[in-house]
């Protein structure tokens, strides 16, 4: 699976790209998406050449060209050579990223004060290490003009714009104080993502979509102060994309002491979902939630058997397993469980000699 289309709805309302010429015509019935078009960002870079160009990829020694040089012994390109120590010039320079200007236009509209939900799309070459930091800074700087914001999607970015696992963020913690009324926070991409001290008393939904979610971020979620969280979705992904979260790492969550109001638990797109299925069958958390979502992963009969062996599974209202590798027999057993089970999108394993490959959905 790849994300091939932008959101058409968010927070229960239709999403439209914000057009400054049209303004905010329908602040409460439409959710606006702020995005920087590919060619607009290209024009911006061209106007700023060469300073910004080189910063895009040659910002640090572990960056693209540093790695290329190590891999192939290639000579670093001229731009990187000429400006070896021009570290992060954009840090000091005034933030003139097109996204910052677009958000300034959006919030200059008086109607912005009524906007309850906002989608941030590609903030400009998001697929090329341009992280969300300046977008986050801009949101924080204009927060007083978005006093009613309750739902935020950060990174509505498609495969055509960036691999999901390459969407890069930074520290999101400034958002919490700036938007204390947030009820829904959804983030796509987990590269360099840091949640910091996540405290949002009103937050009901937290979704992190990724190709690989690092255990550090998972730890931050578990340490967060979210007393009203009802819906938690973590796309744990694969080690290939930085998803080093083990089933042991998930124990604090499975023990059921966190998030007293949780009713929907999604541990999705997980390479280790079979092992998770073994651990979750007897987990106390199952006594409190209504929906367990293990979809988009590589669940096989091994994990399926473990789930079926758990009496707690039958207490759920819904079990979502779509995108799985279960056999016909196993599917029949799940259908006989007596609860709603989503078993759609069955996958076929790839066989290469003795090796069997079962890919998770966002394996790109």
């Amino acid at each position: 699976m790849s994300i091939d289309e932008n959101l058409s709805t968010f927070a229960g309302k239709p999403v439209r790209d914000y057009d400054p010429e049209q303004g905010i015509r329908d602040p409460t019935g439409t959710v606006y998406r702020l995005r920087i078009a590919y060619d607009d960002y290209d024009n911006y870079l061209n106007a700023r050449k060469p300073a910004k160009r080189s910063a895009v990829s040659a910002g640090e020694s572990t960056g693209f060209w540093g790695n290329v040089a190590r891999l192939f012994g290639a000579k670093p390109p001229a731009t990187a050579n000429q400006q070896p120590a021009a570290a992060e010039p954009e840090e000091q320079a005034p933030d003139d990223e097109p996204f910052v200007e677009l958000l300034a236009q959006f919030t200059a509209d008086f109607a912005a004060r009524d906007v309850p939900a906002l989608v941030v799309g590609d903030w400009g070459q998001a697929g090329a290490m341009n992280d969300s930091c300046s977008a986050v800074r801009a949101l924080v700087a204009h927060a007083d003009r978005l006093p009613n914001l309750r739902a935020l999607f950060l990174g509505d970015i498609m495969m055509e714009e960036s691999e999901m696992s390459w969407i890069t963020h930074g520290d999101l913690s400034p958002l919490y104080a700036a938007f204390p009324r947030l009820e829904h926070l959804q983030i796509r991409g987990a590269e360099k993502l840091s949640l910091g001290d996540l405290t949002l008393p009103g937050l009901k939904t937290l979704i992190i979509e990724s190709g690989g979610l690092g255990s550090k971020v998972v730890q931050q979620v578990f340490e967060a102060n979210l007393p009203n969280l009802e819906h938690l979705e973590l796309w744990l992904g694969t080690d290939d994309y930085g998803g080093d979260t083990t089933v042991e790492d998930l124990e604090p969550l499975l023990d059921g002491v966190l998030f007293p109001k949780l009713s929907y638990l999604g541990l999705r797109d997980y390479e280790s979902v079979d092992a998770l299925a073994q651990a979750i069958g007897s987990a106390p958390i199952l006594d409190r939630i209504k929906v367990l979502d293990l979809s988009l992963g590589n669940l096989s009969d091994e994990g399926g058997e473990a789930l079926l062996a758990s009496p707690k599974i039958r207490q759920l209202e819904k079990l979502d397993l779509h995108h799985h590798y279960l056999s016909d027999d196993m599917i029949a057993k799940f259908k006989a469980l007596g609860i709603e089970v989503d078993l759609s999108e069955r996958q076929e394993a790839d066989e290469d000699g003795d090796e069997i490959y079962r890919y998770i959905a966002v394996s790109e």
Binding site: S2, D4, E5, A37, L45, R53, F64, V68, A74, E160
Partner: protein, 392 residues
């Protein structure tokens, strides 16, 4: 309606291809006599054949030589001499005769192109001064079979095309050019490929690579062979990506920015528009879950409607205007097909490909006519039109 029946029509193509049959059927449906068919093989065997067969005032339709290996082999023969004057992989006349094709193998596209172009030039020479009309000029076909030239023609005319990086000799040079241009996502295409043969959508970030391709690499006795694959293999291992790009670059490539395409119905998409007698006619939306949307590679077809519905009337009108201008630029052919990407915000568009033989779109109609019937219908009006100067 009266179609000019005094103008005899000759097809240069392959009589066994269904394209040829479809056009003949369209003529017949209009009560017109069948076209005479000259095969590329006949032309290669007798370069004066056109002069013998074509009568003054007639119409010549240049068609695709198709997929028959006998035709491919013939193009390689015709291109052997020109290929020998260049650097790059090629087969000698002897090797051509001894060659046993393996299914799907990517074979010397540059030499094929040189041979094809030589035959097109011969067609033009042999018909000079005979007051013939080409439904698409041999010159224009030759330009369209070189993605570098096509890109230049469109760009110089101010039409929207993705930025190009210029020629690169291999992976290292490609990376350096990407860095210089600040272009982390590119399409690498064979300069003379068709049907997405030898295409790679390459994204690079932070020392990592993601390459979507139509190419399978096979090691054979220390030699790297390239095969067209419908599976769309993906490569992430930097060494593999390097091998792939280096191998393709030996065959001459065109590199341009990977402009993000709009998403519709959960798919990424682009639009094939057939322009007949200067006007956009048939359109097919090609929807896919990979950046390479070709229908034979698993893309799903749809009407243009889901895309058009998301665009403003002005954005759609601009897209149609690009189609008209492109047709005019290539000498106002009876038909030409464009592949167009619309940006994710549905506001702008880019021309990705211009196809000389992009009219084999089965199962769709425009104004109740198939692509071939519509061309026959438009023939008379087209012949009355003022011929535009042909591009270089």
């Amino acid at each position: 309606m009266t179609v000019t029946s005094t103008a005899p029509i000759v097809i240069l193509g392959n009589p066994a291809e269904n394209r040829t049959a479809f056009f003949q059927q369209a003529l017949q449906a209009r009560g017109l006599p069948p076209a005479e068919v000259i095969s590329y093989l006949d032309l290669a065997a007798d370069l004066e054949l056109p002069a013998k067969v074509l009568s003054a005032g007639g119409v010549v339709r240049i068609e695709s030589p198709g997929r028959d290996f006998a035709y491919y082999r013939q193009m390689l023969r015709c291109g052997a001499e020109a290929a020998a004057r260049e650097e790059g992989p090629r087969l000698s006349p002897r090797e051509i005769e001894d060659y046993t094709p393996r299914k799907g193998e990517l074979l010397f596209p540059r030499q094929w192109y040189l041979g094809f172009r030589a035959l097109l030039e011969q067609m033009e020479r042999a018909t000079a001064g005979r007051n013939l009309r080409f439904t698409i000029s041999p010159d224009a076909v030759a330009v369209m079979f070189c993605k570098r030239q096509t890109h230049r023609v469109l760009r110089d005319a101010g039409l929207p095309v993705p930025a190009t990086l210029g020629p690169v000799s291999g992976f290292d040079e490609l990376l350096a050019a990407m860095e210089r241009a600040g272009m982390p996502r590119v399409f690498v295409k064979l300069a003379h490929g068709s049907a997405a043969s030898g295409t790679v959508a390459l994204a690079a970030s932070n020392g990592r690579f993601q390459a979507y391709s139509t190419v399978e690499m096979v090691e054979d006795g220390g030699q790297l062979l390239l095969f067209n694959s419908r599976r769309q293999p993906q490569y992430r291992d930097p060494a593999q990506v390097k091998r792939l790009i280096d191998a393709l670059c030996r065959h001459r490539t065109h590199v341009e920015a990977w402009v993000p395409k709009a998403g519709v119905d959960g798919c990424t998409c682009d639009l094939r528009v057939l322009v007949i007698n200067g006007e956009p006619a048939h359109a097919v939306l090609r929807k896919s879950h990979t950046p390479i949307t070709n229908l034979h590679l698993g893309g799903q077809r749809d009407t243009a409607e889901p895309l058009r519905a998301r665009m403003s009337p002005a954005a759609w009108a601009a897209l149609e205007e690009t189609c008209r201008k492109t047709a005019a630029l290539f000498g106002h052919p009876l038909q030409v097909a464009l592949d167009i990407a619309v940006t994710p915000d549905f506001r702008r568009h880019y021309v990705l490909e211009v196809n000389a033989f992009g009219d084999l779109l089965q199962g769709i109609t425009h104004e109740g006519l198939t692509t071939y019937e519509q061309q026959v219908e438009a023939l008379e009006g087209w012949m009355d039109g003022v011929p535009c100067p042909v591009v270089e």
